[in-house]
């Protein structure tokens, strides 16, 4: 088997609210291997976002171990976590989080602005490549206001790709989109996965999970199920089966 990008062991995350403790994650262990397309499922409040934030080094676990790409995250400082996010991780959010009044290409360049190893020309080149990969090669200078929701999410995906991350993390990335656009986005994710990019995708929609190779189901901070998907559907063909939109 290929190498593990993510290794977590007995991961716990507790939030203290006044004198009450919320157990958002209650001791979770799993590995994610290079090239996997994992969906994390579960109802609202089950701990999916908490899980993803820790995987993305935005948050630290209360206890347990977490290794990403061979680096133990547990004892890293704020700055070291920022560097890991900058170099190893691509984030995609439900609400796109693009900078307003800023062109697609500048939005995509953003992570590279914080990497002093990347020159201005290199940055521009990589941003254009990323936008071409998500099918927006013709929309480089459009601002978010000039793009549809699906296109905005594509810009966000391009932004997550631009630093060549070891893994892409998406939290409800299709949550704001209609079914058709969601499937288009999922088809893009499947394509990227085929090119070898590891993806962890949080969703609460079961049909989205059918496009991934593996599904982890959370409930109240525990893993309920963790299974490999033997019948991966192609988002592109599902999209073709959808009833035609009236124009």
């Amino acid at each position: 088997m290929s190498k593990a990008i993510i290794k977590i062991e007995d991961l716990k995350r507790e939030f203290t609210m006044g004198n009450e403790t919320v157990h958002a994650l209650r001791g979770i262990s799993f590995d994610i291997k290079e090239g996997e397309f994992v969906t994390i499922m579960g109802s609202s409040g089950s701990g999916k976002s908490t899980m993803l934030n820790i995987l993305g080094c935005l948050d630290q676990p209360t206890s347990g171990n977490y290794d990403i790409d061979g680096v133990s995250v547990k004892d890293l400082s704020r700055n070291e976590l920022a560097t890991i996010r900058n170099e190893k991780i691509g984030f995609i959010f439900q609400s796109y989080n693009l900078l307003a009044r800023t062109s697609a290409i500048e939005n995509v360049e953003l992570p590279l602005l914080y990497n002093s190893k990347v020159s201005t020309e290199e940055r521009r080149k990589r941003a254009i490549e990323a936008l071409q990969k998500v099918g927006l090669g013709e929309r480089l200078h459009h601002t978010p206001a000039q793009l549809s929701g699906g296109q905005q999410q594509r810009v966000a995906i391009a932004r997550s790709l631009v630093n060549n991350p070891v893994m892409i993390l998406a939290d409800e990335a299709t949550g704001n989109l209609d079914t058709r656009t969601s499937y288009e986005i999922m088809s893009l994710f499947q394509e990227l996965n085929k090119q070898g990019i590891t993806i962890t995708f949080v969703t609460h929609e079961p049909d989205i999970a059918t496009f991934s190779s593996r599904t982890i189901v959370l409930k109240d901070g525990d893993i309920m199920q963790d299974y490999n998907n033997h019948n991966i559907l192609s988002a592109a063909s599902e999209l073709a089966k959808l009833p035609k939109q009236d124009d």
Binding site: R78, P111, L113, Y114
Partner: protein, 406 residues
């Protein structure tokens, strides 16, 4: 590299919020412009006082009856009759540091010639007066020591007097005028000197031998002043000391008895007036500095609003790898750019207003380079100082909390 990127990010934010940025800058612009203009006015008036006084003869030393009027109780000089001709003679014979000296008596009266009359001041002096005051003759000639000895009724008049007494343009030299009903023959006309800084018309004068003015007009024996010029500007302070010493002997003042006269050099006069205008400058600058401070608080205020508004953006930047220091620098650079751009615009506005003040209000101005340098420095410091706390606040945000912020 990274700093350059942060600089780009900050510039972009400023450009995206042009109107707001400009409004924020307004405080700084007005503050800097007023500092520059105020200092220019202050410097200008100082310079003009200096040139006026220099034109009056920068080596000049004035000796007046009475105690020092600078500070303490002032006694009207006219009430003191302690200065006499023998004082003058003592100074003339004993001093080593004076090149010219003259007794001076003065009075006010009416000049009449034909149907024209004009009130003016008459100065009774000796021929050295012109050298001391650096006055040239436009026509005619100065009276002589013989005229002084004989108390001749001859006079020289200034341009203002000429205009009012001889309005038809005839040559005044050789004409007769009456001063307080005493007939004088005009033997010369003084070159025009114009107004001095204090608004005094230096051409509204009549000059005659001091003996004539003493005996025939004022009927007094004492002198109002003795004026002299030091051999050069550097020796002026020593000349003041020397004259004081001679006069103390003359007046038989011993030990700690106070002087019953005072001697003042032009340098002292300049510094007296300069210190007054310096006070004024300090006051003006204080007022201007307050507006600069208010400008700084304006920046801080807008930076706080900006950090709050852009919380989500800050969260995103952190999520894609910005460190706390990057966020801090971004907002700090933004604050400094606002204040320095405000400073540049302020300097331009200040220079513009200075030109306006000079041209249309006719006030003397002089832009000092240091005022521009200081303004810039203050602007940069203002940006750093008032931008620091908002920037600090932004950099300390937790990325998840910031991303969730709506």
């Amino acid at each position: 590299m990274r700093l350059l990127n942060l600089f780009k990010i900050a510039t972009k934010a400023i450009v995206l919020n042009k109107t707001r940025t400009l409004l924020t800058m307004l405080g700084i612009i007005i503050g800097v412009a007023s500092v520059i203009a105020m200092l220019a006015i202050g410097e200008g008036s100082k310079e003009s006082i200096r040139t006026t006084i220099s034109a009056m003869g920068s080596n000049m030393i004035t000796i007046k009856a009475g105690a020092d009027t600078r500070g303490g109780v002032k006694q009207a000089a006219s009430a003191m009759e302690t200065l006499t001709l023998s004082d003058y003679e003592a100074i003339k014979s004993q001093s080593t540091l004076l090149s010219y000296s003259t007794p001076l008596v003065n009075g006010n009266g009416q000049i009449i010639s034909g149907s024209n009359n004009w009130p003016s001041t008459i100065y009774g002096v000796n021929p050295e007066y012109l050298n001391i005051k650096v006055i040239d003759l436009q026509s005619g000639s100065m009276f002589t020591d013989v005229d002084v000895k004989s108390a001749a009724k001859v006079a020289l008049i200034g341009q203002t007097v000429v205009e009012n007494i001889f309005p038809d343009g005839q040559d005044p030299v050789g004409q007769m005028i009456r001063y307080n009903n005493i007939p004088f023959k005009v033997i010369g006309v003084l070159e025009e000197k114009g107004e001095n800084t204090f608004g005094q018309d230096q051409d509204d004068v009549v000059i005659a031998p001091y003996t004539t003015v003493q005996k025939r007009i004022l009927a007094i024996d004492h002198l109002n002043q003795i004026i002299a010029s030091a051999i050069n500007e550097e020796e002026a302070p020593n000349a003041v000391l020397e004259v004081s010493k001679i006069l103390r002997e003359q007046h038989k003042l011993t030990g700690n008895q106070d002087d019953d006269f005072y001697v003042q050099s032009m340098e002292e006069l300049i510094s007296t007036f300069s210190s007054t205008s310096e006070m004024l400058t300090i006051l003006l600058v204080a007022v201007a500095s307050i507006s600069l401070l208010i400008g700084g608080i304006g920046i801080m205020n807008i930076m706080y609003v900006s950090v709050k508004e852009r919380t989500k953006e800050i969260g995103l930047r952190m999520a894609v790898g910005a460190k706390g220091a990057d966020i801090l620098m971004q907002f700090l650079i933004e604050a400094i750019l606002i204040s320095i751009t405000g400073g540049v615009l302020g300097v331009l506005l200040g220079l513009g207003s200075t030109v306006f003040i000079e041209k249309f209000l006719n006030w003397p101005t002089s832009v000092a380079l240091y005022s521009i340098v200081i303004s810039f420095a203050v602007c940069a410091v203002t940006g750093i100082f008032f931008g620091w706390y908002p920037a600090r606040k932004a950099s300390a945000l937790d990325p998840i909390t910031a991303l969730r912020y709506e």
